[in-house]
Amino acid sequence: MSTTFVEEKPTQNLEAFKGVKKVPYEEYYTSGHRTCQGCESAQIMKLMAKAAGPRTIVLGSTGCMYVANTSYYATPWGVPWMHTQLGSAGSGALGVAAALRAQMRKGTMRAEPINVIAFCGDGGGADMGLNAISATLTHPDYNLLILLYDNETYANTDIQVSGTSPYGVNTSFSTPGKVKRIMHHRWKKNVAPLMAAGHPTCKYVGTISTSYPLQAMNNIRKALSIGGPTFIHCLNPCPKGWDFDPLLSFQLGELAVNTGIWPLYEIENGKLKLYGKTEQIAHGRFKRLPVREYLLKQGRFAHFVEEDIEFFQSKVDEMWEKWLVPGVIPLQKELDARNPPSP
C-alpha cells in the first residue's frame, strides 16, 4: 500500500436534516441586511449558515452579499465573517483553512473541525475568481467549501453582463437596440461540470436551488462533511436585475429547474447523481416545461421575439437530447457513438 502524503483532517460530519420540521431554529445569518425585497442570494446565505452551524468561518468575496451585508459597521452574520477580494474566494478559503490548521498544530487554538466556507458571486467566482478556485480544488489536504451564488449578472454594481448571464439578456452592458436586438449572444458558462471535470480529486461538486431549501441545505452539509475542497453552484433569482415582482422569486427558481435550464445534480467522489425534478426529467417522469414560461415572467427578456424564444428553447433541448450526460456534460452523444473514446 502506497502512502498518499495527503494530510486529511476530520470534518464535523454533518448529518442531513430529515425533513423541514427537523431544521434547527438557530439563524447564523439573520435579519437586517440591506438587500432587495425577495433577494434569493440572501436566502442562500441564510440556508448556508443554518446548514453549516455555529462552528463555521465564512469568507465573502466582493459582490451584493458583501456590500449589502456589511454596510456601516452593521451585520446580519452570527458566525465569524470576513471580506476577501473579488477574485479571491478560492485563495481566501485555502488560506483560512491552512491558518486554522497551523494554529491548531501550534496549540494556539483548540483542535477541532471548523467549517470554512467562501462564497462568491458569479462575477467573483465564474469570471474573476475561476483560477483561484481551480487552484484551491486541487489541494486535497484542506476541508473547505466554495459556494458560488449566481444571480447571473454583476448585480451589486447595477446589472452588468457576467460569464453566467443567459443568452440574449438585457443588462447594463447589453441593452437591446433598434438595429441589433440581441446584444448578449454568449451562452451561460457551465461552471459546476467545469470544476468536476477539471479537478478529479475534488470529492464533491454540485448544483442547488434556493427553491428547494431542504435539499440545498443537505447538499451543503454533505459538501462540508465529505472532506477536502468542495464546490457548489447555486442559482439565485434576482428581482432587481431579472426585473420581476419580488413575490415571484421562489417560483422562478422552480421554473428554472422545471424548464430544464438549471439542472440539479451532485458529483460525489466522481459519481454523478441527478436529483429532484431534474432526475424526473432525465427519466421521462416529468415533461420539461417550455422555457417560454420562465422567460416571459422576466423583464430582462421583454425584448425577446418568437425567434429568440425558439432559439433559447432549441439550446435547452440540445442540452437534454444531444449532450453525452444530459444537462451536465456538453460532449455530443453522436461523437461518442461513432468513435468511442475508450473501449
Binding site: 439573520t30 425585497q37 456601516y72 459597521y73 452593521a74 446580519p76 452570527g78 415582482d245 419580488p246 421562489f250
Partner: protein
C-alpha cells in the same frame, strides 16, 4: 449669488428609478425653457439601489451659473423647496440604503413649502403616517396610483408629467406650466401627456399643516458604531443567538425569536405586509424557511409570526404558503403600528380574526398596483386604468 431652488424626490429604489430620473430631468429641461440653469442627480449614498429600499433624487435650478455651481458643490441640498413622495407608503418615513436612519419625508423641506404625495388617500389620512414637525408646511395630494416598474421595462402611465404639472402649481417660481408644456411637446412629443400635465396643474391643491400636526410617534433611534468601537483586527461584533420567548397570555415559553441586526430595520422598506391567520396555519414551516430576511419568529405555539422590524414585504411567504388565505399581503398604508400579530391573536382570537378580515378587505381590490414586472403586456394593460383614475382626480 442668486437663489437656488431645490426639488427632492423620495421614491422606491429600482421600482421607481426610471420614473424619478424622468421627473428630475423634466424639471431641469422645463426650467431651461424659462432661461434657467439646472442639473438633476441621484443621491450617491443610495446607489446601487435595492428593490423597494427608499432612495432620493434631486433637481437643482438657478438663474445664474455661479449659484448652480455652488449648489452642485454640495453633496445633496440641505434644504429643499418642494419634496415629492412618489409612493404613499413612504409617508411613514424613508430609511435609505445609506446610513441616515429613518427620516421623516419632510426632513429637508423648508418651512411653509409644499410636500407632494402621490396617493389615492386624502391629506388627513396621510397625516396619520407623516411625522409631526415643529414648522408649518403645505401638504398636497396628487391623486393617482403608485407607478412601479423595474430595471428594464418602464410603465409610461403619465405619472412623470403629472408630477411636473403639480410642481408648476406648488412652486411657480421654479417652473411655470407653459415651460412644462413646452418641454413635453418638444422632448416627449406627446399631446396626451401635455393634457395630463395640465389636468394635474388644475386639480392640484394643498392644505396647511400646522406645527405638531401629524403622526406623534417618536422616530426610532439608532446608535451607529464609530471607528474607535472596532476591535482587534478591525472587526465588529456579530449577531448573538436568539432564543425562545413567552406567550403573552399563558406565559408558556417556547418557539424561537432570532436576534436581529438592530442598525437597519425594514419599517420603511415595505410597500405591503403579510397578515397571518394563525387559526388556519398548519405549521408547515415554508414561510419561515423561505423568508430571505429571516423575519418570521417561531411562536411558542409553533406558528409563524412575521416580525415587522425585519419584514421587507417581498411577498414570498404568501406565494409559498400552501393554505388558502392564510398569509395575505396587504398594502402597508393600511397599518399604523408594527406590533406582533400573534400577540394580538393570543390576547383575543375573535377580535383578531375580525380585524384580519377587515384589514384584508380594506386592501382589496388594490387598483392597478403591481410591485413590478409579472408578465409581458401587463403595463400596457394598466396604463389606461391609471390614467382614468388620475383624470377622475
Amino acid at each position: 449669488m442668486g437663489q437656488l431652488i431645490a426639488v427632492e424626490l423620495i421614491y422606491r429604489g429600482v421600482f421607481q428609478k426610471t420614473l424619478a430620473k424622468n421627473i428630475t430631468r423634466g424639471i431641469v429641461l422645463a426650467a431651461h425653457n424659462e432661461g434657467k440653469l439646472g442639473i438633476s442627480f441621484g443621491r450617491y449614498g443610495d446607489s446601487p439601489e435595492r428593490n423597494g429600499i427608499p432612495a432620493k433624487s434631486f433637481a437643482i435650478v438657478a438663474n445664474d451659473e455661479e449659484t448652480l455651481q455652488a449648489g452642485m458643490a454640495q453633496y445633496e441640498p440641505k434644504q429643499v423647496d418642494v419634496t415629492v413622495v412618489l409612493d404613499d407608503t413612504l409617508s411613514k418615513g424613508a430609511e435609505s440604503w445609506a446610513w441616515y436612519g429613518l427620516q421623516p419625508v419632510h426632513h429637508a423641506l423648508k418651512p411653509g413649502h409644499t410636500l407632494i404625495v402621490i396617493s389615492l388617500e386624502d391629506a388627513p389620512t396621510l397625516l396619520q403616517s407623516i411625522h409631526r414637525r415643529d414648522e408649518p408646511y403645505k401638504l398636497g395630494v396628487l391623486k393617482g396610483v403608485t407607478s412601479f416598474s423595474g430595471m428594464w421595462v418602464y410603465k409610461d402611465d403619465h405619472t412623470d408629467v403629472r408630477v411636473l404639472g403639480a410642481i408648476a402649481k406648488a412652486l411657480p417660481e421654479l417652473v411655470g406650466l407653459k415651460a412644462v408644456e413646452q418641454f413635453i411637446t418638444d422632448k416627449l412629443k406627446n399631446s396626451l401627456k401635455v393634457r395630463s400635465a395640465q389636468t394635474a396643474f388644475e386639480r392640484f391643491e394643498s392644505i396647511e399643516v400646522k406645527p405638531g400636526q401629524g403622526n406623534p410617534d417618536e422616530l426610532p433611534q439608532f446608535e451607529l458604531l464609530k471607528w474607535e468601537d472596532m476591535r482587534e483586527g478591525v472587526s465588529i461584533k456579530g449577531q448573538p443567538q436568539g432564543g425562545p420567548y413567552a406567550d403573552p397570555v399563558t406565559k408558556q415559553v417556547g418557539g424561537f425569536r432570532p436576534a436581529r441586526n438592530g442598525l437597519f430595520k425594514k419599517y420603511s422598506t415595505r410597500t405591503q405586509r403579510p397578515v397571518v391567520n394563525f387559526a388556519t396555519c398548519t405549521k408547515c414551516t415554508l414561510c419561515w424557511l423561505n423568508c430571505p430576511d429571516a423575519s418570521f419568529d417561531v411562536t411558542p405555539d409553533k406558528t409563524y409570526d412575521a416580525n415587522l422590524e425585519a419584514c421587507c414585504g417581498c411577498g414570498i411567504c404568501e406565494d409559498v404558503c400552501p393554505v388558502k388565505n392564510c398569509i395575505t399581503m396587504v398594502n402597508e398604508s393600511r397599518f399604523h403600528d408594527n406590533n406582533s400579530q400573534w400577540e394580538a391573536f393570543k390576547k383575543d382570537h375573535d377580535a383578531y380574526l375580525k380585524w384580519l378580515e377587515k384589514t384584508i378587505e380594506s386592501g382589496q381590490p388594490e387598483p392597478n398596483r403591481a410591485y413590478g414586472f409579472r408578465y409581458r403586456g401587463q403595463y400596457k394593460e394598466q396604463v389606461p386604468e391609471a390614467i382614468a383614475i388620475a383624470e377622475k382626480g
